[in-house]
């Protein structure tokens, strides 16, 4: 019984983290939320009795995805609206000239 309740809580947290990762404008928070999703997905693979898949998901989801996404954020912008704002400012300056 308590096992089912724990699994249900984990599933709810996974859905919440997925919605959070989509809605959030700060991309760093979205990356952290995707890490939570990957962790819970790994535990779910384990409960479904596939430990090899869980092992691969743990190695790729936690380490590789987070590092690649963080390097991408470092090289581009952190906030989702930032690039559009810069474009708008450039357009305003062009119009002012």
């Amino acid at each position: 019984m308590i096992f089912l309740i724990t699994v249900l809580l984990i599933l709810l947290l996974m859905v919440g983290a997925a919605i959070y990762a989509i809605v959030q404008k700060d991309l760093l928070f979205a990356v952290i939320a995707s890490g939570v999703i990957s962790l819970i997905l790994s535990i779910l693979f384990l409960i479904l009795q596939a430990p090899d898949v869980a092992l691969t998901e743990a190695a790729i989801g936690v380490a590789l995805t987070t590092i690649i996404f963080i390097i991408t954020i470092r090289n581009t912008v952190r906030y989702e609206d930032e690039r559009n704002k810069k474009k708008k400012q450039k357009n305003v300056k062009k119009l002012a000239k």
């Binding site: 724990t6 809580l9 947290l13 990356v31 939570v36 190695a59």
Partner: protein
Amino acid sequence: MEYIIYFALSIMAVALVFVAIRFIKGPTTGDRVIALDTLTTLGVSGIVLASYLFHRFIYLDVALVYGVLGFIGVIVIARYLEGAL
């Protein structure tokens, strides 16, 4: 002996609720990173409990890999926040 495992699972469920509240509410980035780290620790303990509950010792390998790799992501995010990556 089974009752101890179920007791530990219930404590883990309560801790999970508090971590989820901190993850959703947390105003700064540091709170959310700490929530991710605590969630990784909870996940490792949950995997070990599941290993005992299902009598499958191969599950312990997954917990080992998670314990080794789980902190690399947190380190990378911390280095990014520091501005040194």
